[in-house]
């Protein structure tokens, strides 16, 4: 049990660093943050080690038992998310340190917001209590909105406002559902609800509100309109954090609650409907990404598309056999982690390319392959995972989903996986076609700082490597899972 003391550190440390960076002068904020990164990485590693050595466990905050107090849940999924967050956030922080030098002093508020965001995300991964999840959602959501607004241009403020309204509507719908469940069952603990929740109108209305609220927060098609301006218009490290991690927060809650309540109380078509919306997201997001003229907008629409794949989880685990459900679980986990790594890499390398040519237009990338091959290579590697080409994490994830779809006889999802991959290839190659075209013979591009290229490269390479060693992360993510494989 070496890691149990590390569990509260996962949110206490980032909160403390958030306060410290708020109190420090702007010049000290990045320094303090870089000093804090190893501490939080160590705490995340300790939590993971604890899971590996002593298995899933429960942490009782304040030493009160569950319906009275709040439990934290350390299982494979939550520890995996904690580690994924640590890796992506640490690399984004290293990138942000160099990137923010060119931005006005108000951008130094990035650091307190960054730490609060991390605390909120870790709070969500560990939560076992549906009201506590709401508070975690608020911490994460408000920090994310603040980060979008940091640029302080009229467009950024408008995007942040739109994001805020969508996020608030989503969390209020979620909270209404929580209130109904609490009124009906007298407990907020997920384990408790799993025991007592029954199929009745209250549970159904509550779950419908919760699902709708979380879909809006996850930006699932057709509720995605707030995402592209917010993710595409933010400062580049913010875009990466938002697309890679923040949208996963609400999806994660949906997944957990579905496993607790979903199949028993929802009508049979709900899971299929979620899958159909996911398919719509894959097609519409991919098509819109291909049509964009601004590089970061293209990447943002790619997020809309990639979110769609995660929702194939619901039809593939509901009412299918144990083996199909296990494959769907593994595939979704792989897609989730691989997308986090690849999307962060894609945004960071897009930021490097934009910095190099001094323009966010895709058309201005002409000839850049000759001068900035490293930035372009990271973009390409990340693209390989998004397209689902072997041996990337994206490929492994899609392969597992494909097997699950065949096993459960739902062949129609194969079309989504196949056409979605083609669409991703279309928008990734749109960027490549431009950059390989012969352009000016003289290098007028500005070299981005080495840290920024390296951060993007590490993330992109991880998205590939995780596909090669998929059995290890999948083994850990399955520990203590509520379904199949155990």
């Amino acid at each position: 049990m070496i890691g149990l003391w590390s569990v509260p550190l996962l949110f206490a440390l980032p909160l403390a660093l958030g306060i410290l960076t708020l109190l420090a002068t702007p010049a000290w904020r990045p320094r303090l943050s870089l000093a804090g990164l190893p501490l939080l990485l160590a705490a995340s590693a300790a939590a993971f080690l604890d899971l590996a050595l002593s298995g899933p466990g429960i942490y009782r905050l304040g030493d009160w038992p569950a319906p009275l107090g709040i439990n934290l849940n350390v299982d494979g999924l939550s520890a995996g998310m904690v580690v994924m967050t640590a890796v992506v956030a640490a690399l984004c922080a290293a990138y942000a340190r160099s990137y923010l030098r060119d931005y006005p002093a108000s951008a130094s508020f990035f650091w307190p917001l960054f730490w609060f965001l991390w605390a909120g995300m870790n709070g969500i991964w560990l939560a076992e209590d549906i009201f506590n999840l709401y508070v975690g959602l608020e911490v994460m959501g408000l920090a994310a909105v603040g980060m979008v607004a940091l640029r302080a241009t009229p467009q950024a403020l408008a995007a942040a406002m739109r994001y805020l309204l969508a996020a608030l509507l989503g969390s209020l719908a979620y909270l209404l559902g929580v209130a109904l469940l609490y009124g009906a069952y007298g407990t907020l603990s997920m384990a408790g609800l799993q025991h007592v929740a029954a199929d009745n109108p209250t549970t159904q209305v509550a779950l419908a509100l919760i699902i709708l609220g979380l879909l809006l927060k996850t930006a699932l098609f057709p509720l995605h309109a707030w995402l592209p301006p917010a993710h595409g218009g933010a400062l580049t490290p913010v875009s990466a954090l938002l697309s890679a991690l923040v949208v996963k927060g609400s999806f994660y809650i949906l997944l957990r609650l579905w496993l607790v309540l979903g199949p028993e109380v929802t009508p049979a078509f709900t899971a299929q409907l979620l899958g159909v919306l996911g398919a719509g997201a894959v097609f519409y997001g991919g098509w819109m990404a291909w049509r964009q003229h601004l590089l970061k907008q293209l990447v943002a629409y790619s997020t809309v598309a990639q979110i769609g794949y995660l929702f194939l989880f619901f039809p593939l685990v509901t009412g299918t056999g144990a083996e199909a459900a296990r494959l769907a679980w593994d595939g979704t986990m792989m897609m989730l982690v691989a997308h986090a790594l690849a999307k962060a890499a894609l945004f960071l390398s897009a930021g490097n390319l934009i910095l190099a040519v001094g323009s966010s237009q895709i058309g201005h990338l002409v000839g850049i392959s000759r001068f900035r091959p490293l930035s372009l290579f990271s973009f390409g590697l990340a693209g390989v995972s998004l397209m689902g080409l072997p041996p990337s994490g994206g490929f492994t994830g899609k392969w597992l989903l494909l097997h699950s779809a065949i096993l459960s006889g739902q062949w129609w999802w194969l079309i989504v996986l196949f056409l979605g991959g083609l669409l991703s290839a279309a928008y990734i190659f749109k960027v490549f076609r431009m950059s390989f075209r012969e352009g000016p013979q003289i290098d007028r591009s500005v070299p981005p700082p080495l840290t920024m290229d390296v951060a993007a490269m590490i993330l992109a390479a991880s998205a590939i490597v995780i596909g090669l060693t998929a059995h290890l992360p999948l083994h850990w993510l399955r520990a203590g899972a509520l379904l199949g494989g155990g």
Partner: protein, 233 residues
């Protein structure tokens, strides 16, 4: 537009009906949480159930809620700093308000102190006391009373963060004997909760005052908003 309004109206009606149905049809809870709270009250360190739930049984939720409040001010600070500086209005030209304030201010402070103290045995506590404190700050601002310490950025930020910092610090320190985060020893629970509530009152009050003060001046004037947009790079 009327079509959109009609659709929105239908949607609202649908949600209301669904909510009504869900509430009317709700089952009797199998779990009796109030009974459990009553059973654990002797160990909570306070005599009022709401305070016990907020600051002991479910103190982690409250900790994160305080973080949300601080976060709101951080975002406001960042946005305010990104705005161009301009002279701020120094309150209303109203001598009567100043005269009334001289009478009201001591009363407001006493009420805030009472609400904070009352929280341990009857409805009250840090959130209510903090809001009353904030009302005093807002009135002072409207009366145009200059308060140098409110304009001292470092002091202000320390005050804003004090509540969360104390809460977090106590949560970590009590872990020393090998108990979980925020598990107060029963014999000190009352004192620790009082210390947390005291600092929370101050920070909540300052948070609400800051949100009021950080509003950019003249933002409601459309002409001014336009020139503001043009002035930005």
């Amino acid at each position: 537009m009327s079509l959109r309004a009609g659709l929105a109206g239908l949607l609202c009606l649908g949600v209301t009906l669904a909510l009504g149905w869900a509430v009317l049809e709700r089952p009797q809870p199998a779990e009796n949480l109030p009974e459990r709270v009553a059973g654990a009250m002797p160990d909570s360190g306070v005599e009022h159930a709401v305070t016990a739930v907020l600051l002991n049984f479910r103190s982690y939720d409250t900790l994160l809620e305080i973080a949300v409040l601080l976060l709101a001010v951080v975002v406001a600070l960042a946005l305010r700093e990104a705005q161009p500086d301009r002279p701020e209005p120094m309150g209303l030209e109203n001598p009567l308000l100043r005269a009334v304030m001289a009478w009201l201010l001591p009363l407001i402070l006493v009420v805030a102190g009472f609400l904070l103290w009352a929280g341990s045995y009857q409805p009250g506590g840090a959130f209510q006391a903090g809001s009353v404190l904030a009302a005093a700050g807002v009135l002072l601002r409207l009366a145009g009373v200059t308060t140098a310490w409110l304009d001292n950025a470092a002091l202000m930020r320390t005050g804003l963060a004090l509540g969360l910092l104390t809460f977090l610090g106590i949560g970590v320190v009590v872990m020393a004997p090998g108990v979980p985060f925020l598990a107060y020893p029963p014999e000190y629970a009352g004192t620790l909760i009082l210390v947390i509530e005291l600092t929370l009152t101050l920070s909540i009050g300052l948070t609400l005052i800051s949100l009021f003060r950080l509003t950019p001046p003249y933002a409601d004037d459309p002409d001014d908003a336009r020139s503001d947009r043009e002035a930005r790079p």
